[in-house]
Symmetry: C2
Subunit: 321 residues, 2 copies
């Protein structure tokens, strides 16, 4: 199932979210309008705002505040992408040139700041202190996740726990906030918002694990970046950690981390991680996260939005990019 | 008068603000603790939080929320300094190595993001939606001010109006928020918070104009950076704009902007701006801003905090760094 089908129950709200995002482009300052226009052109599948909107559909409510929240969630995601591309020095994302590639890293830092601040300003319009606070904490988690990743790069002594903490911070935190705040702003009772929080957190963990697996799959043309680019940047993800556990002796990954110019060693390491036995083990972990997520979801009353959230789990685990 | 004397009426609150800032250093994540510790060591005079605290003293109130606000204001200032130093590629600030110099630009971008988010999280604890919203708008103004500065660099066709808009965004906006929110959180009536807002905005404008003048004064040892560094980076500030108005023909500034490698032309331009007739004219503008600020202040009842805010105006205009 494609995301367009999954988003069916919230298609009108999602269109209004899109409008809200575009309204930000209409600023007086020409360079900023141009930059923001470019950002939206190369933007993604709107998974996070869709979660907020779907999570709000278990309780009758006025949709406006939830739509504001969904817009803020997507803006925050866009801001982190801009800073991540700057920090990683990435030239392309989804086949489009990044802001740092086109306008330079300095502009990218500042336009990222502007979009961070815009997302926080949007959230204020929900007028819900708890939600606003949760949102700022999420920005702290996102940046500490990225900091951890950078601080731990080329460090071969990492635990699975530190990997899970890192992907919670850099990815699952915003998924969690997306789902939980949708529920809270719809006025859902605590047991429902807790269930949607758990659903979204586990979905976010699975999403990042699959992302980390996809980094080792396909061809550079399919995924829009080189195969094994995480490893090449010294970032240990789940498939690499599993391969290190499976082959504790004479493993090429720590060797490559010592001599980063040894491209043959990198290639040997990537080949090792790409083995079906490693990839399947990583997928099993993602599937386990999806099971926990699905279980949380099934405690909610069945309706078209719940069906969509369930389909989203299937989409996340089977997606190819 | 030194700032320590000026801060007399709020010395205890300021100490608690300092404690709050330091509490942020006690995070679980070692690299982040180290980075934050470094940031505070090289931090400045706490002018902005002092304004928040002094502005709250015209109405009896519980000091906690005002202290939280003052901490948030200072944190936001620190975050902008980190990103500015990264964008400007500055190696030193106040004689201390910058984060981007010691740990690299990537770490600096992410630790700046973390501190931005921490400041927003602090503000949430004021539980005042209007104040929280004003604060996020301030972050938008700060980043758009920096973006304008970068976008307009080496552009000789700038108006005084665009200069004032830019320094409002990058500096006076946060001063305004510092003063206005101190008043609002103390429960001051609207006429008083409006007066303190005007006081702080005009003080902030004067502060930045004096900063821009100081860039052309003293020796590199005194100011900790080369003389005329703004102009060398293609940034037109008030003294340069005045010099361009005074000498419309054959002016070295536009010539240097065309050929940025011509260090002799830069030196001629700096000499032109350093003339007393130019510097005095720029000071007169700063003094005019201080007069407007003082007038707003004098509509408030006299007390030790009002005297301090008045002294702060004298300090801003006579400071040498």
């Amino acid at each position: 199932m494609q995301t367009t089908e999954i988003y069916e129950p919230v298609v009108e709200q999602l269109a209004r979210v899109e409008e809200r995002l575009k309204s930000l482009v209409r600023v007086k300052f020409p360079l900023l309008s141009e930059l923001l226009g470019h950002v939206y052109e190369s933007s993604g599948k709107r998974v996070r705002p869709a979660i907020t909107l779907l999570a709000s559909n278990f309780h009758p409510h006025d949709s406006t505040k939830v739509e504001i929240m969904a817009s803020a969630v997507e803006l925050l995601h866009v801001a982190t992408l801009i800073h991540d591309d700057t920090v990683d020095d990435s030239d392309f994302r989804r086949g489009k040139a990044t802001i740092s590639n086109l306008w330079g890293r300095n502009i990218a830092v500042l336009v990222g700041d502007y979009i961070f601040a815009s997302s926080a300003t949007f959230v204020c319009d929900t007028e819900h202190i708890g939600v606003i606070k949760r949102f700022s904490e999420t920005i702290m988690e996102l940046s500490s996740g990225e900091l951890r990743e950078l601080a731990d790069s080329f460090n071969p002594n990492q635990t699975m726990e530190s990997y899970y903490q890192r992907i919670y911070d850099k990815t699952a935190s915003l998924f969690t906030t997306a789902g939980e705040t949708g529920a809270i702003l719809s006025g859902a009772p605590v047991d429902q918002s807790d269930a949607l929080k758990e659903y979204s957190r586990e979905l976010g963990m699975a999403f990042q694990i699959v992302d980390d697996i996809l980094d080792f799959e396909g061809t550079p043309e399919e995924v829009g970046k080189p195969i094994g680019s995480d490893l090449a940047h010294g970032i240990l993800t789940l498939p690499a950690l599993i391969a290190m556990q499976m082959y504790p002796n004479d493993n090429p990954i720590p060797k490559f981390f010592v001599d980063r110019d040894d491209r043959d060693m990198l290639s040997t390491a990537v080949d090792m991680v790409q083995q079906p036995v490693v990839i399947d083990a990583a997928f099993a972990v993602a599937e386990e996260r999806c099971s926990v997520s699905r279980e949380a979801l099934l405690s909610l009353p069945r309706n078209p939005s719940r069906d969509s959230l369930e389909e989203l789990l299937n989409y996340v685990i089977t997606r190819r990019n």
